[in-house]
């Protein structure tokens, strides 16, 4: 147990000690080697790197050097990432066997390990993280501590203003004042729908009930999205603190966080954060003698996308199948165990402490008129700089894809970007200058979504993409309501038919009608938005659908059934590799003569494409 005075003392002392983390001219003889321990870097052996650094430092008896695990730095494509502070030198794609060289050269001799420095898209070698184009247009609020502190060390969190917002709220604000600040900041739900957070808090506060709950939705199910996971892995205490502030504001003394079991590192770090906060007396009864009680519990999800829907999530916390409830009543009135419940997602909470400390005006000054603050995106797919980015609202998609993301690799062309995952839509070249805002994204047939942003190049077939998303929704539909359960299945069947070359005239119109019916008649957000990928690909790529149906052609070459393989006589050298490897003997030709594919026999397995050393086989 620590008193408030002791916490303040930790903050002051630790902050001095950790100044080198954020200040390149910090007055210190120490060096900190920061090793990224997000899921991406952990998958490429960053724990081994950490271990090697510690071992070498001990063996060589080097003093004043500490090795620290941190959360995600963002540029996952260049992982594992190692940063050395205070000089802020950034090494990319580090291997465990590189540690020796880094220690000997960088730490002991003060020289740079040139070969491990990162090359930017323009091929310029970059020494510091913020010199990269990737970081230039970013603004970190929700991710402020990610990559700066050790997420498993509460003292480091406290050092960077940790639990200071809680102190401010408990001792100098009323619950109404807290809600007022959140409302005035303009913060809206970061889970996707964008409901004003302050309003949600005030509804839950006004609801009558002897017991109320605060819930954090960390069931990040959108495939290709990892924003919330990165917050929980990199800065779990900021979510603990924000949930406590929410509890104080609405009058709840108990919170639940619902996390995907597929995120083992996030679960472990969050649990550790709870344990540490309890040990310090920050969670528990009569916190800092303020009279406020609060405690938190982790509940694991078990792999159901629908549980990201708030009422399905509540069902799941209660131990049942995650099937959505009919609304109203809304959770603010009748939520968990029938009691008034406030549900926000991780990123929304991650903004709260900063809003409380810096004020509503500060937050509202960032972003656009209707969308305030920043948004975190998980940038992925056919883009050079894959990773986690946080940008002020109002930045355009073009800036994210080309300036931050570094454009499309392999000399290919941008075709579309998808936001909002299985609930969202695609954005084409012509709409790339649309600013990132809740309303403007909706106007072009997509949505903000939780933050998955997948870029696709011209080798991607849009009909196949719609089919991919529908395959996902069919798997994840909970089965409660007919339009979603059966409607999405019919959509998938029709899309499959089209990609197999069996499409008929009028299929596109049938798809459109069915989509609209599913949107209108489904019970929950999953069903209501499931047709979006189909509708938006039809809207922007109708010609591709028609080509599949009329000409039995897939211009991207992704739909195998529509593939017509042939050998380019200009490129074929007659080596015979394709002929020998063809499983159905569909290829004929003499040695050193151009070979030919018998399209009637060909089963389009693609073996010849992979075998041909001259790339002569075309579809």
């Amino acid at each position: 147990m620590k008193t408030l005075e002791e916490i303040k003392k930790i903050r002051e002392e630790k902050r001095k000690e950790l100044d080198l983390r954020v200040n390149t001219s910090a007055d210190t003889r120490e060096k900190h080697i920061l090793v990224c321990h997000g899921t991406g870097c952990t998958s490429s052996k960053s724990p081994k790197i950490l271990e090697n650094f510690r071992r070498i430092i001990e063996e060589k008896k080097i003093e004043n050097v500490r090795v620290i695990q941190t959360g995600c730095f963002g540029l996952c494509a260049k992982g594992p990432i190692v940063i050395i502070r205070p000089e802020d030198v950034f090494y990319a794609m580090v291997k465990p066997e590189d540690c020796e060289e880094i220690i000997e050269k960088h730490i002991q001799k003060g020289e740079l390990v040139e070969r491990l420095l990162c090359k930017d898209i323009d091929n310029k070698t970059v020494k510091k993280l913020d010199e990269l184009n990737f970081y230039k247009k970013q603004k970190r609020i929700a991710l402020k501590n990610c990559g700066v502190i050790d997420p498993e060390n509460i003292d480091e969190y406290i050092a960077f203003d940790g639990y200071k917002a809680l102190e401010k709220v408990l001792f100098s604000m009323t619950p109404d004042e807290v809600i007022d600040v959140v409302s005035k900041s303009g913060l809206r739900g970061r889970g996707g729908a964008g409901f004003p957070t302050g309003k949600k808090w005030s509804f839950t506060k006004m609801a009558k009930g002897d017991q109320k709950y605060v819930v954090c939705n960390a069931d990040e199910g959108d495939p290709g999205a990892f924003m919330d996971r990165s917050v929980l892995e990199g800065d779990p205490h900021c979510v603990v603190e924000a949930m406590m502030i929410a509890g104080f504001a609405i009058g709840a003394n108990k919170g639940y966080i619902y996390v995907r079991a597929e995120y083992p590192i996030a679960v472990k770090r969050f649990q550790k954060a709870i344990d540490q906060a309890r040990e310090y007396g920050i969670l528990g009864k009569n916190i800092w003698n303020s009279g406020f009680d609060f405690d938190l519990e982790v509940r694991l999800g078990a792999g159901a996308f629908v549980c990201g829907e708030e009422t399905a999530l509540l069902e799941s916390i209660e131990g049942r199948r995650g099937q959505p409830r009919l609304k109203p009543p809304f959770p603010a009135n009748e939520g968990l165990f029938g009691k008034p419940t406030l549900i926000n997602n991780v990123e929304t909470y991650a903004n709260i402490t900063k809003i409380i400390l810096n004020g509503a005006e500060w937050y509202a000054s960032i972003g656009t008129e209707k969308s305030k603050g920043t948004k975190v995106f998980a940038l992925g797919g056919n883009v050079n700089n894959i990773g986690l980015v946080e940008v002020p609202m109002g930045v355009t998609l073009r800036e994210i894809v080309f300036d931050i993301g570094g454009g499309i690799p392999n000399g290919r062309k941008f075709k579309a970007a998808q936001t909002g995952g299985p609930s969202g839509g695609c954005i084409t070249e012509e709409n790339l200058d649309t600013p990132i805002e809740y309303e403007s994204l909706q106007a072009i047939g997509s949505m903000m979504g939780s933050g998955g942003l997948i870029v696709m190049d011209d080798s991607k077939c849009m009909v196949n993409l719609a089919k991919f998303y529908l395959g996902f929704t069919v798997d994840e539909s909970c089965g409660k309501c007919t339009p979603c359960r059966i409607g999405t299945k019919r959509l998938l069947e029709m899309l499959t038919k089209i990609t197999e070359g069996k499409g008929e005239e009028g299929d596109v119109e049938k798809l459109e009608t069915l989509c609209k019916n599913i949107q209108k008649a489904s019970v929950c957000g999953l069903g209501q938005t499931a047709p979006n990928p189909v509708l938006s690909t039809i809207k922007y790529f109708r010609d591709e659908y028609e080509e599949h149906i009329r000409d039995k052609k897939c211009r991207a070459g992704e739909c195998k059934a529509l593939m017509q393989l042939h050998i380019d006589p200009e490129l074929c050298k007659g080596c015979g590799l394709c002929k020998r490897n063809c499983p159905v003997d569909a290829i004929t030709g003499e040695v050193k003569q151009t070979h030919v594919i018998n399209t009637e026999k060909c089963i389009k397995c693609g073996t010849c494409i992979n075998k041909c050393p001259f790339h002569a086989i075309k579809s």
Binding site: G79, E262, A378, G380, I386
Partner: protein, 159 residues
Amino acid sequence: MQAAHGTDPKMTEILEKYTDDKSNLIQILNEVQEYYGYVPEKAQLAISEYLKIPMAEIYGVVTFYARFTLKPKGKYHIAICLGTACFVKGSEQILARAKERLGIVEGETTKDGKFSLEATRCIGACGLAPVFTVNGEVYGRATVKKLDEILDKIMENPE
């Protein structure tokens, strides 16, 4: 594989961590799945008695959530990520190759119990896409060739 029945000390140990509150069902099932690699019928029975929830309801919950399985996994569990980032980078071909090589479809285990195959949704290593995992170990920037090499290595091993 451990014996899975109501009196299995491990099962008792798991149950004892929780109160008999019905909302603990999914937490308990997660631990059972983690320990046995699947949710054995006898474990379901033990939970049913402990939480006083009918077997039918427990079966309903087990089959609802993708993480819970009713059959044991193979000695080598291969999971290919079909999250959007991996899909866009061609993980479909890797899955197709795995199915071809192992002669099973996703969700199945080979007859000799050596391999099981799963198509997962995003495991969060999008920076390394496409990825697959073998018994939890992540292989990033994967190709059909890389999968082949790994399968060859496992298959050559005479146990």
